[in-house]
């Protein structure tokens, strides 16, 4: 009988191929040039574009002030930088937290009825004529140099949007460390994939858009609760490119519990599936969109399927082996089963193709995380992140993949925080 693990081979092959693609692309000229790109010179303010950063808030009283402070600390000419705090009908102390910036010359405050994040962003866009419009989630904080690192990316007229290098803000528990490693993997991924114009998300924490592109394409949409992904896909569909500034560091708060993480990722994954299988289906396999259409989006879809399949397969094999072991070992004292008896030699190591390929995929992933930290010069210790990523990530991801695919299959829609 064919071993069930054979089913996983094609997915492991694709995973190794994609990781190799990222590694090769990192070494290619465009990525090297992106890493060497100089930050904007702020000595001559007249040569710099005007920038507005919109901070959409809904019940963000705890963090909005610190977010705003970090924006005010950006090294960018004051007359060229505006910050727009948008209170999207908060029911907590967000208005009071915002009020302390009311007199600040760089800050504008907008209050509106609750309408969702995309409406808050659009309200901010409507209130500015800045050449570059960005957004920053109210639970995120930027390094003072971040904007200077991003502005030069707009030198190319085809660039419609620019993303930053995200990591987790002061990770404390194991789950946050795990997400930090994942986010830093994302730094490597975005940096490499941007050099072949394959990005399909402009994340809420510190992404910037060319004003005229927004004017041409229209403002943010609901986008199945992933307005940042919908906007990025629309920009790609229109033929613009999305750049990445690997040295522009931004830190965001990550969910601290598994339940909160599951909710967040279910929203992201179901948003991806609904966007990509719906309005933006035409991007998949489209030669006109190069790496995005032929490689990145198909791989992202396959990754969802393979995540579920490999998890189910591993679970099936674990349960099967555990059941067989239990049946075999039942009745015999546990001390005998656990005792180390004379082994049969080194060659008896179970050299499974599946196991070795799995270890190879994991090893390259950990290497790419380390590379991401180095490229972005993200501070902090990654050891706990790498350990938790190795042992925990693979167990949690399938949960939100299953939840999201079930939601999409059944047409179930959840609230933002459900």
């Amino acid at each position: 009988m064919m071993s069930p693990e054979v089913l996983a081979y094609p997915f492991l092959f694709i995973a190794i191929f994609f990781e190799s693609f990222i590694l090769v692309t990192l070494l290619s000229k465009p990525a090297r040039e992106a890493r060497g790109r100089a930050a904007a010179d702020t000595s001559d303010a007249s040569a710099l574009p005007s920038v507005a950063v919109i901070v959409p808030c809904w019940n963000e009283a705890a963090t909005v002030a610190a977010t705003c402070e970090s924006l005010l600390a950006l090294k960018y000419p004051r007359e060229k930088l505006k910050i727009i705090l948008v209170d999207d009908g908060s029911t907590d102390a967000t208005p009071e937290a915002m009020a302390r910036f009311a007199e600040h010359s760089q800050v504008s405050i907008i209050r509106k009825e609750n309408g969702g994040k995309h409406t808050a962003l659009n309200a901010g866009i409507a209130a500015t004529r800045a050449e570059i419009v960005g957004c920053l989630d109210a639970d995120s904080f930027v390094e003072p140099d971040a904007l200077r690192e991003m502005v030069p990316c707009f030198a190319n007229a085809r660039v419609g949007a620019v993303t930053a290098a995200m990591s987790v803000h002061r990770p404390k528990n194991v789950l946050e460390h795990m997400q930090n490693a994942e986010y830093i993997f994302g730094i490597t991924f975005r940096h490499a994939i941007a050099s072949v114009n394959g990005l399909y998300v402009t994340p809420g924490p510190f992404s910037f858009y060319r004003r005229e592109v927004i004017d041409t394409l229209g403002g943010f949409r609901y986008g199945h609760q992933t307005e940042d992904m919908e906007m990025a896909l629309r920009i790609q569909q229109a033929g613009y490119t999305i750049e990445n500034a690997p040295h522009a560091r931004v830190y965001t708060k990550a969910p601290r519990s598994i339940l909160a993480l599951l909710k967040q990722r279910t929203r992201w994954t179901s948003g991806f599936l609904r966007n990509i299988l719906g309005e933006y289906r035409g991007l998949i396999g489209a030669r006109r969109h190069g790496a995005l259409g032929l490689l990145v989006l198909p791989t992202a879809l396959v990754a969802i399927g393979s995540g579920i399949l490999i998890f189910s397969l591993t679970l099936f094999m674990l349960v099967r082996n555990a059941t067989a072991a239990f049946e075999t070992y039942a009745g015999v004292p546990l001390s005998y089963t656990l005792s180390l008896r004379e082994g049969a030699g080194w060659s008896h190591f179970p050299a499974s193709f599946y196991l070795i390929l799995g270890i190879a995929v994991l090893f390259v992933s950990l290497s790419l995380i380390t590379v991401g930290k180095r490229i972005s010069r993200t501070p902090g210790n990654l050891a706990l992140g790498l350990i938790s990523y190795t042992f925990l990530y693979g167990l949690i991801v399938p949960l939100w993949l299953l939840r999201a695919t079930t939601d999409v299959s059944l047409g179930k829609r959840r609230n933002w925080r459900e």
Binding site: F13, I16, F17, F18, S20, F21, L23, V24, T25, S28, K29, P30, S195, V196, G198, G290, A291, L294, L295, A324, E327, T328, Y329, A330, G331, V332, P333, Y336, R341, E342, A344, G345, S347, H348, F349, A351, S352, F353, I356, L357, A360
Partner: protein, 222 residues
């Protein structure tokens, strides 16, 4: 060619090289396992000769080769566990595995006979012996359980002698052993000191089939 296409081709080359290397490594490890089987085969041949010599020695001077027989038994057990691993990895229909099992079974039968003859010749109480007949053709649901329980009993009670035989092995001597002991095709089957037992439910039930006092951790006086 675009940068993405060029990179994709290079990545494909790397992937094929990596997967190929892994495939070769797994093949190499399996080969070393086969090489080890060769070593087991050599060892079994030497042990066969050793047993022949012991038989001769017994005829000349009964009771003098007790120690060497015990040593041989422990070597047999070690080879047995390696052989079962090889069978698990290479399949029970692998020709080399079948050949080894034939030789191993012959060796076991000889050891069984020599042990009985020793006790008889020296007038000592014979050790408790278990002839265990199994099948791995998928028709013996309880064989894994029985095999593990017997390993435990053998490791816990050193005086116990366990001989395992693949019931389906096409070996004349084994067929004779089965016929002599009148063992039915209902597996797992055991012959415990001449008493036939069929089936295996639990270790505690199985232990009840042994003669009283047979399962003792103290080494019986031979």
């Amino acid at each position: 060619m675009s940068l993405a296409a060029r990179n994709a081709l290079i990545a494909l080359g790397i992937t094929i090289a990596l997967v190929g290397t892994v495939a070769l490594t797994v093949k190499y490890l399996n080969r070393s396992l086969i090489a080890e089987l060769g070593a087991i085969e050599d060892q079994l041949s030497i042990d066969m000769l050793s047993l022949e010599t012991q038989f001769s020695l017994l005829e000349a001077a009964p009771c003098d080769s007790v120690a060497s027989s015990a040593t041989l038994t422990s070597e047999l057990e070690n080879m047995g566990s390696r052989l079962s691993y090889a069978e698990e990895q290479l399949g029970s229909d692998n020709p080399q595995v079948i050949r080894l099992k034939d030789t191993y079974s012959l060796l076991e039968i000889r050891d069984y006979l020599i042990t009985a003859r020793l006790a008889d010749a020296c007038g000592t109480k014979p050790p408790v012996t278990v002839l265990y007949f199994y099948s791995n053709a998928g028709d013996c649901a309880d064989c894994d359980k029985a095999g593990y329980a017997l390993s435990y009993l053998r490791d816990t009670y050193p005086a116990l002698r366990v001989y395992s035989f693949d019931y389906n092995l096409d070996l004349g001597a084994l067929k004779t052993l089965i016929a002599v002991n009148d063992v039915r095709d209902s597996l797992p089957a055991f012959v415990i000191n001449g008493k036939r037992v069929y089936g295996f439910s639990s270790l505690s039930d199985f232990e009840k089939q042994f003669p009283k006092g047979a399962l003792s951790t103290s080494t019986p006086k031979l």
